[in-house]
Symmetry: C2
Subunit: 706 residues, 2 copies
């Protein structure tokens, strides 16, 4: 899928167009940092007049360079960049990294278009990139002042020894190198930092994809404002999940999502951001809300083994801080379960009476003088009751750490479950390094540690669900042999028109007949049986209730006649231009729980299915869950269970439970329909769906096509 | 209220009982750190045999010390502590700080009791304290290795120049000094760190209270597991609010709150933690979820002026990071409003076309070479549209900061609104110090910066509300001249018995009569008028609906008879032992929105009032807001507006709006009743209350007394 980014990320030779002698100036710094980074291949400074620059022979033009050039770094005034890149392409240079700014980001779209044209035939990164760093290749192609070369060398050595590292992709160069700079301070190892700038050619998805192919990269940090191509992003995320390399994403726009001017209930209840959240959750993409959280997640993902679940065991030297950690873990949706009596008894054998053997295990401050901390970690490592272990301790000045190193290394070395350490005072750098060296990440933030555990659990859940999902979706699904035909052009199918399409997928609406006039309605009601509902059918009146176009529980012909006259008058007054297809007479559904089921089409990610608490509550509570379509029965059931209104289905105050399984099957069927007809169906609304103790009734439907 | 803690926090002379020569050992370190801390008064080492210790003349017993002793620091084996403290008390020593551990925290309750007895006559801090730090007095009375003496000296000098500092109170010594240690790294100044240990005498509230009296202390950080005396804590918080010195509290127990075995709906729906949240919100106490958040809040509270509101203007050099900040601010419940056309036009005059003049203002990376950042800050400082300013920038290597220092100092020096800076790369220490010196806090975390702005806004809102609240509660409130009498002992008042008490407060229930038997019920219904409801009245059946003890909408005597027979049979079967007071016949209420109103008594904070979405939803959604009683109409209205179900009251799908004002008045009346009868009334449940377009009907009531 991804183009080979080798010439960009692991070039064998590099030219610097715009090389300068003074390493204190930005342009001089690019060459100076390339030299300091330890790049082993030839470096060719390009300069119109100088013979040597920073001790290297310089060339006047790219054509003068004697050997092959994999990568040209371009740092010259913007207006000269297109010609220089064209010359590179002509010369057979494989990739260009344009650091120059002054293109679209300053409103110069035409100049950017000519650069795009000039770049045909080579890989182009940038323009307006702050550059890139490729640790293993020793390529430090950036003017960022954030590079610590000492740290870079030691990191390269650690990567060579098998330490897993994180790759960073960011359009914003400042942010990309800020992550690098902050991560170094946290003891994180980096395999790549790529700042993609204006993304004329190589974009964030392509860069991240290449990083996933690198064996040393164990996780990718990505900063995105939006996916320009949702399908490519989704494919990237699936690849990351398959390889157990978490994709950790900062996605801005939670608050900025402009309200859509959609007529659909479903669509107006979800922002575009909800689509990202749904896609992220399904694919195990970890969304982070600030840089610290990104780094905490990356630290856990690159040092700790994958988790199997979300049951956390806590071992603490301070009861108070241990309780605080339990709160933080619970706030992240994790469990801190009480241990079984057997496990608790086993722990009780060595703890003093004033320690706590339940979860959290309070080994007390005495554990700074005995082996209770290590024994407790061992007990949890051996237990099937716990998926991850969090140790709360003080690493400012830990007198036991050296003595426990080998024991901890043996436990962590099994790589059966993550072991995370939180230090409530700022930890000594030596303690952090000692633990990192044996595969144990240290956190300085309570929330950060809890968030990392949540991330590991989320990836585990997404991986397990993905396997089941593929198996489920591979099975043949119940569907009509021929998809029902849709009328041409954008239109609105009200319930009588939507019913045949739904029926083709096995979704039956409540018994109904379409009447042209009052006499027809009375005849229809007689055929269906009272009590009935009467509803106007018009593509111009999508919200019938608000327009006075719905009358319920009409007990006899008299009531039906009165309702019809009143309704016809209201409609004629309120919507005189509306094209009325007729009057739907529908059998009243038995009582049940009102829900809403539907689909909408996201601009980035395509069809999403939605399920929510229905009736008047849907607008009040906005209790709606969305998920990419198609989806499995398991996914549909999980969506329903995730609703705030889910207890209504289970039965409250002695009410019988409603048929959640039937609802889940309906959600699956709507998901399949939305996915199959995605190019045409913009949204489906079944509102309400009345879920009975056994089965359900679809009472209303609206389908929008495009 | 608080005892004078002067001898503890600002002693004029100090004795060290258990002083030792070797400063590398814990006991020796106490004296060594006291000496290094720069304490100006006399220090008396107490040692059974040595003549001098660490260069000071030593004394065998406290009685041998020549002059008066304000504070004795005690660091000897636990079993000898009570005698030593008794000797201090006899000698006239004013305060003792016991660092020794081995008391209640190790299960030795009897030893702690004898210490308590021995301490009569002096202030006792500890035992099991890690000690205390009092910057201005130069008292460093701790064995914590976290003290940076260089930093301490410079901090003392800054405090002398008027810099506002933060005080820290923590039972846990490790956590208290961890906050100190982390805060130093953030450039925070500390006036005190007091670790209270087992709190035999001086507790966290007393220590915090004394800190609020200190002019240099601008905020107090407190770590608490629970308030042992809610009223004292509330008084402390009110004092903090009055003095504009934010109280920043970490309170554990969000997740651990054991479900109460309460029969009341209201009580079972709120954990004890909800009481803390309500009290905290009312008093402007800032609750923090981890140490970093505590420090971020403290930094803003001690450096920035108070805020007036929650409208934030953002100035950013990076559009992407600015958007991310807007998301973070929105996540904290703050507003990032679009500017007025005038303000936008004024900003547009100097920005390049590719910058953004709305909010956030994107001054672009070009602002590192011009004055657009400073001009934008000035524009927002002058504007009435914005309450706080957040600048997003890179302080790793800011070429403009020195040039803008004076301009920023002049703007920040007005102290009209907070100016907060977030640096997305790790900032240079010199930049942080420069900004701190002119009253501008720097944040390294996006969420931390947003959280600090939220904290400032919350304090502003709480202060304003507090002023209005006092005025409102000072006004005479409508109440019965004589409080209604309650039956003695713990009991349950069902609706017929609760009605007179409610009526005495002007709360009328739906018209009803209590019948002893079927004939009485039929007569009552005839008097009231059909349709009616029939409900069993028994203190043993608090949940009538679940027990089958409620029949609604009985249209005539036949229906009433049938319902009575069926109900009597059900009750006889389901609750044969129940004492049945009679059968309530009640007029059916007109339709409306079902709500729940009630009160419960919190073990720590006394009576709380609650309002929530009613009917079956109350258990499903747990959509309940609580607030300390009594409360004002404004507070009641805010509680109602804060419900997720609030839109139901405003009217959905064309339904008329319900009378929210009547509901708010009912909430105020229940609050007053709960407060006035607090020693006796454990809980009140009005469930449901049906709110009509005009007025409301209280349909059911249950009062539990104790």
């Amino acid at each position: 899928m991804a183009a080979d980014l080798g010439p960009l990320l692991a070039p064998r030779s590099v030219a610097v167009i715009g090389a300068a002698a003074d390493p204190t100036k930005i342009r001089g710094r690019v060459l100076a940092q390339l030299l300091k980074g330890g790049f082993a291949g030839p470096i060719f400074p390009i300069h119109p007049s100088e013979a040597t620059i920073q001790g290297l022979p310089a060339f006047a033009r790219i054509d003068d360079v004697p050997g092959p050039v994999d990568l040209a770094i371009v740092a010259i005034p913007a207006e000269r960049v297109p010609d220089a890149v064209a010359a590179c392409a002509a010369r057979g240079v494989k990739a260009a990294l344009v650091l120059s700014s002054g293109f679209a980001e300053e409103g110069k779209a035409a100049l950017q278009a000519s650069l795009r044209e000039a770049s045909k035939g080579l890989l182009l990164a940038g323009p307006n990139s702050v550059g890139l760093l490729s640790t293993q290749a020793g390529v430090c192609a950036t003017f960022s002042p954030a590079i610590d070369f000492e740290a870079l060398r030691s990191m390269r050595a650690r990567l060579a020894q098998g330490r897993r590292a994180v790759g960073v992709v960011s359009q914003s160069g400042g942010l990309g190198f800020a992550l690098f700079n902050r991560g170094l301070a946290r003891g994180l190892a980096f395999s790549f930092v790529v700042t993609t700038g204006n993304e004329v050619d190589v974009d964030s998805v392509a860069a991240a994809d290449a990083m996933l192919d690198d064996p040393a990269t164990g996780a990718v940090l990505m900063f995105m404002e939006g996916a320009r191509d949702g399908a490519r992003f989704a494919a990237l995320a699936e690849k990351a999940l398959d390889r157990e390399k978490p994709l950790i994403v900062a996605k801005i726009g939670r608050s900025a999502a402009a309200a859509r001017a959609a007529v659909s209930h479903t669509a107006s209840l979800t922002g575009a951001d909800a689509a990202y959240d749904a896609v992220f959750r399904r694919l195990g993409v970890l969304r982070a809300d600030d840089q610290d959280e990104m780094l905490d997640l990356a630290l856990a993902a690159t040092l700790a083994p994958p988790a199997r679940g979300r049951r956390i065991g806590v071992v603490t030297i301070s009861g108070g801080v241990g309780g605080w950690m339990a709160d933080a873990l619970a706030a992240e949706g994790l469990e801190v379960p009480r241990f079984s009596p057997d496990l608790e008894a086993a722990i009780r054998t060595y703890l003093p009476s004033y320690g706590a053997a339940f979860n959290p295990i309070d080994v007390t401050a005495q554990a700074l003088e005995n082996d209770h901390r290590l024994r407790s970690v061992a007990a949890l490592m051996d237990s099937e009751e716990i998926d991850q272990i969090v140790v709360v301790s003080s690493l400012a000045n830990d007198p036991r750490l050296a003595a426990e190193r080998d024991g901890l290394a043996a436990l962590a070395g099994r790589r059966t479950k993550p072991l995370l350490v939180y230090s409530y005072p700022l930890p000594a750098a030596s303690a952090v390094a000692l633990l990192a060296g044996i595969g144990i990440p240290t956190f300085t933030s309570l929330r950060g540690c809890a968030s990392a555990a949540r991330g590991l659990a989320a990836v585990a859940a997404a991986r397990a669900a993905s396997v089941r999902r593929r198996a489920a979706l591979a099975a043949p699904m119940a569907r009509s042999s021929a998809p029902a035909s849709l009328p041409a052009g954008p239109t609105r199918l009200t319930e009588h028109a939507a019913a045949p399409l739904l029926a083709s997928r096995g979704i039956a609406m409540a018994p109904h007949l379409l009447a042209r006039d009052l006499a027809g309605a009375v005849a229809a009601a007689a055929a269906i049986g009272y009590p009935v509902a009467l509803k106007v059918q018009s593509p111009d009146i999508p919200h019938k209730t608000e327009a006075g176009g719905v009358a319920l529980a009409l007990a006899d012909a008299g009531a039906l006649r009165a309702a019809w006259h009143a309704m016809a008058a209201r409609i004629a007054r309120a919507a005189p231009q509306a094209r009325v297809d007729g009057w739907l007479v529908q059998r009243m559904a038995p009582p049940g729980i009102e829900m809403i089921v539907g689909s909408l089409r996201d601009a980035d990610f395509g069809p999403l299915v939605a399920v929510g608490t229905g009736g008047t509550l849907v607008e009040v509570l906005r209790d709606l869950q969305v998920w990419p379509a198609p989806l499995t029965l398991e996914e549909a059931s999980a969506l329903i269970a995730g609703l705030r209104g889910a207890p209504l289905l289970a039965g409250v105050r002695g009410a019988p439970a409603a048929d959640s399984d039937a609802l889940a099957r309906l959600v699956v069927a709507i998901g399949a329909l939305a996915a199959d007809l995605a190019p045409r169906v913009a949204s489906i609304d079944l509102n309400p769906v009345i879920v009975h103790a056994s089965g359900l009734t679809v009472v209303d439907a609206l389908i929008e096509t495009s």
